[in-house]
């Protein structure tokens, strides 16, 4: 079936296709229409799920944790302040090895209140042990929800998929929706290896002393490493079955490019157009979209970027006191390659609090990175007012 959906509706329909059994969620702009759509899907019988209409995001995540521990497939969605309020439980889900799937609609943090997009909310949760996908289109949102379950339930780690406020969440596109039966062929029903079961009683989450705590953490790291391959295969299998795939990163017109723009989310779409335009004008510019941030696809990023002249990383986020977060990630990945193959990495801060990242903005970055001889480590803030 094909339907015209917003990014938010696509997230809800993704959970419907995947037959999430328990939804535990709390409203926040711009996520609200995800849970309103889910409430509709449950009310009209299209999704056979319990919907716990909790009183806070802290409880929303705790609700997913409880239901998942009982052996059910769960779904939630949130945004900015709500995600921040979940923080303790994000660790809980990850260290508890519960494959919860959540959509986060990127929204700038308060104060002052902003409902517009930037990545500081999700990136502040980067180190909680969740897998992170950044989506570019509504179709990718729906498909990534389904893929997320596949990956999460294979490696027993939770997945957060991220979509930009309004540019995706409230923008309509035509979206293919597989039926629940079709989806079930790709994603069989959730069968946890261990859960709350009176016939096979286990105690979860007891005190862990110095002698084993590290090992628990190490196992998460191993699972994360494994998740790279699992996610890659999940995407390949998805492509085979549904004819659509995205990769963990996506190169765009990079074959012979000296200069690379690194993007994520909807900025990638705008960058495609800008790259086409620049190519026509004879610039040797291409684009690399980062879809998966955790686990970080080190090898792939290294392979693609090594030997380039310069790399411009567009960060719709700011780690104050450090710089753009994707820039740090890319620098980190590129440090350990031979010096003669290592490109200079330029960081750009763009579009905070939903400020438009237009083709002109991206073109000005492409111009700067080609002109400026030295990447001095400082971030360049694009379009700042006096």
């Amino acid at each position: 079936m094909q339907k015209v959906l917003t990014g938010n509706e696509a997230a809800a329909w993704g959970a419907m296709c995947a037959q999430a059994q328990v939804i535990s969620a709390y409203p926040i702009t711009p996520q609200t229409t995800i849970i309103e759509e889910l409430a509709n899907l449950v009310a009209n019988g299209m999704l056979d799920a319990r919907f716990i209409k909790v009183e806070s995001e802290h409880s929303a995540m705790a609700g997913c944790i409880g239901a998942q521990a009982a052996g059910a497939r769960t779904f939630t969605a949130t945004s900015s302040q709500g995600l921040a309020l979940m923080h303790e439980l994000l660790h809980w889900a990850a260290l508890g090895r519960l494959p919860v799937v959540m959509a986060d609609v990127n929204r700038a943090m308060a104060p002052g209140w902003s409902i517009w997009t930037d990545q500081n909310d999700s990136l502040a949760q980067r180190d909680t042990g969740w897998l992170h996908y950044y989506c570019e289109s509504n179709q990718e949102v729906l498909d990534t929800v389904i893929q997320s379950y596949k990956v999460a339930e294979t490696v027993d780690l939770p997945v957060m998929l991220v979509l930009d406020a309004f540019f995706l969440s409230h923008t309509y596109e035509a979206v293919h929706i597989p039926s629940q039966d079709e989806t079930a062929k790709y994603l069989p029903p959730y069968k946890p290896s261990i859960y709350l079961d009176v016939k096979d009683p286990h105690a979860f989450g007891g005190i862990v002393q110095q002698d084993v705590y590290m090992e628990f953490r190490y196992k998460m790291q191993v699972a994360m490493n494994e998740a790279l391959e699992v996610a890659e295969k999940a995407d390949d299998d998805f492509r085979e079955m549904f004819g659509r795939g995205y990769g963990l990163i996506e190169p765009y017109r990079l074959d012979d490019a000296d200069y690379v723009l690194v993007t994520s989310g909807t900025v990638a779409s705008t960058a495609r157009v800008t790259v086409d335009d620049l190519r026509e004008k004879g610039h040797s510019v291409g684009m690399l979209k980062i879809r998966m941030l955790r686990p970080f696809p080190f090898e792939k990023v290294r392979q693609i970027l090594s030997g380039r002249k310069r790399v411009a990383v567009l960060d719709r986020n700011i780690c104050v006191g450090m710089g753009g977060i994707f820039t740090q990630e890319i620098r980190n990945a590129m440090y350990h390659i031979p010096e003669d193959k290592r490109p200079s990495i330029y960081g750009y801060i763009v579009g905070l609090g939903g400020r438009d990242v237009s083709p002109e903005v991206i073109a000005s970055i492409a111009e700067d990175v080609q002109k400026r001889a030295v990447a001095d480590g400082e971030q360049v803030w694009i379009g700042l007012k006096e």
Partner: protein
């Protein structure tokens, strides 16, 4: 019981206009009227602590504010503790004679801020906590809260999944904390609202005022009917006006002429889907609650 005047006391405070035009509330917004009346009574030596809610928007976008008193916006779940801590800060720096007012919606009060609210009440933090209650999360587009009444449509209780749980009884919960003052009021009775704020100002410790606030888009009601809806809520005993001092001394502010609950429901599209049986169930529940309230008042008198 003395009949309740409408505008006698209101006229006494009518001169001060502390909330100004230029705010961005919807037409017919009960919460805007409530703030106007409250600030008139509280005066300029007042600070407002506002969590995420419609009022976080109504006050106006940066760098504007519709209220000419200090306004501090805070995280959704933290109105009570932030206000309590503002009081601590004022005390610590020797500033006296200021009304510290937490101004939160029902979601911030009944739901996400409920734990903090209870903690502040238990500590008897010296603030006036105002809950303007429009019975759902209106700022985010009409999702259910635990203040949403039984039977109501919201965007998270759609179609046949209309709300099947009853509304929390905030005043009883707060009275059970034995706070010095807890009262209910609404915008259809300006005098009652003014008198209750005056009384709250004369008391120290944790004071809570629960204001029923019609919301035309959220209740699917006509803008011109907001005052009527608030009046019918009282007259039909859906929202009784009373106060509780020290958790035990109950005073009914008004013994309303009984109006059928149907009159109240009929003003609002959010109840339109209910059939006869469901509507009479609501009437029955309202009657029972009223009887319980009368019993509680008599228990207090008997002791």
């Amino acid at each position: 019981m003395e009949a309740l005047s409408y505008l006698k006391h209101f006229k006494e405070v009518a001169e001060h206009e502390i909330m100004h035009s230029g705010h961005v509330a919807c037409p017919g917004c009960g919460a805007a009227i409530a703030m106007r009346l409250a600030l008139k009574t509280l005066g300029r030596d007042t600070m407002l602590i506002i969590p995420a809610c419609c009022w976080a928007v109504i006050d106006g976008p940066f760098p504007y504010s519709a209220c000419s008193v200090p306004v501090y916006q805070t995280a959704f779940e933290t109105a009570s503790i932030t206000a309590g801590a503002v009081r601590a800060g004022l005390d610590a720096t020797g500033k006296k004679g200021i009304n510290v007012v937490a101004w939160a919606g029902d979601g911030g009060t009944f739901d996400i801020g409920f734990g903090q609210l209870s903690a502040c009440a238990e500590r008897n933090d010296n603030i006036i906590y105002v809950c303007y209650d429009n019975e759902a999360y209106m700022n985010t587009g009409i999702q259910r809260s635990s203040a949403t009444p039984w039977g109501a449509w919201t965007s998270t209780t759609p179609g046949s999944d209309y709300k099947k749980e009853r509304k929390k009884n905030l005043l009883e919960i707060m009275a059970a904390h034995r706070i010095p003052y807890a009262a209910s009021t609404t915008v259809a009775y300006p005098d009652d609202l003014v008198l209750k704020f005056r009384k709250a100002m004369s008391i120290e410790g944790f004071r809570l005022i629960h204001i029923f606030s019609p919301c035309p888009p959220g209740h699917k009601a006509l803008e011109k009917n907001s005052i009527l809806e608030a009046r019918y809520a009282v007259e039909s005993r859906v929202f009784p006006l009373y106060e509780v001092e020290d958790g035990t001394k109950y005073t009914l502010s008004m013994d309303p002429p009984t109006r059928p609950v149907a009159d109240y429901l009929d003003l609002q599209g959010r109840f339109r889907h209910l059939n006869k049986k469901e509507r009479s169930f609501i009437q029955q529940a309202v009657d029972e609650e009223w009887t319980r309230l009368m019993h509680r008042m008599r228990i207090d008198e008997a002791l």
